[in-house]
């Protein structure tokens, strides 16, 4: 989804994320600074050996929520362009599940805006991940494991 002004690019995809697609989008002759964030599948989580992650989303709403974040970033910081992409389906260890790129005239704005965008994405965009680990599977941020007993798994976020 690209806005009329071509300053926002948001995408959900089953395919591997190519960072180049985002950096090409946000590149601009007036951009002295570009920041990117890539979130990738780690091999351990909360003491479990992770095999892979599987992502699903609320199609339509997920994209709309991503565009809302992007528009808010453009309104709050002197950002030229922002691109956000999230992968769906199976994501193996070391592969990117999310990537964000931001361009700006100034690096401080680019860092703040990119950091804000990933924080918000994790809070508001209806996307879910199921962790397949050695010994079971678990919806992260959710309440129910495969055993049928309700359990709470908090995503790590050491601020």
């Amino acid at each position: 989804m690209t806005d009329k002004q071509h300053h926002i690019f948001c995408k959900l995809t089953q395919d591997p994320i190519e960072l180049r697609e985002l950096t090409d989008f946000v590149a601009d002759p007036g951009a002295g600074a570009m920041t990117t964030f890539i979130g990738a599948t780690r091999n351990t989580n909360d003491g479990r050996q992770v095999i892979r992650l599987e992502y699903e989303c609320y199609a339509g709403m997920a994209e709309k929520e991503m565009v809302k974040i992007a528009a808010e970033v453009l309104a709050r910081w002197p950002v030229i362009k922002i691109a956000m992409i999230h992968r769906l389906g199976r994501v193996d260890i070391g592969e990117a599940s999310v990537a964000i790129a931001v361009s700006s005239g100034h690096r401080h704005a680019a860092f703040e805006a990119c950091h804000y965008a990933i924080n918000q994405l994790k809070e508001t965009v209806p996307i879910w991940k199921k962790e397949l680990y050695e010994g079971g599977e678990l919806w992260i941020g959710s309440q129910t494991g495969m055993t049928g007993s309700f359990q709470k798994v908090q995503e790590e976020d050491r601020t």
């Binding site: 979130g39 609320y58 999310v98 994790k122 996307i127 199921k130």
Partner: protein
């Protein structure tokens, strides 16, 4: 009136379905529908506190009044991005 219900992630697996159409009384809110589901599956009470709701793909609270043909989504805690 007829409401389309959407289920995701852990809730989808628990209920064994991704969506369904339900007939609800005129004047129903999200809470009305949720109470209906809980009567069928009392264990849903355990996830109640962490659940969010969306109508027409916008977050709303559970007092939101429903209209005929609305799409009501039950949103378990989101977990986009990696572990970081």
């Amino acid at each position: 009136m007829r409401i389309r219900l959407r289920y995701f992630a852990s809730l989808r697996e628990r209920l064994g379905r991704t969506e369904e159409i339900r007939e609800v009384p005129a004047g129903a809110t999200i809470e009305t529908v949720w109470e209906m589901l809980k009567r069928e599956r009392p264990e849903l009470a355990a996830i109640e506190r962490s659940l969010a709701f969306a109508v027409a793909q916008e977050y709303v609270d559970k007092t939101h009044p429903l209209q005929d043909n609305d799409e009501l989504a039950f949103i378990p805690p989101v977990s986009g991005g990696s572990y970081d």
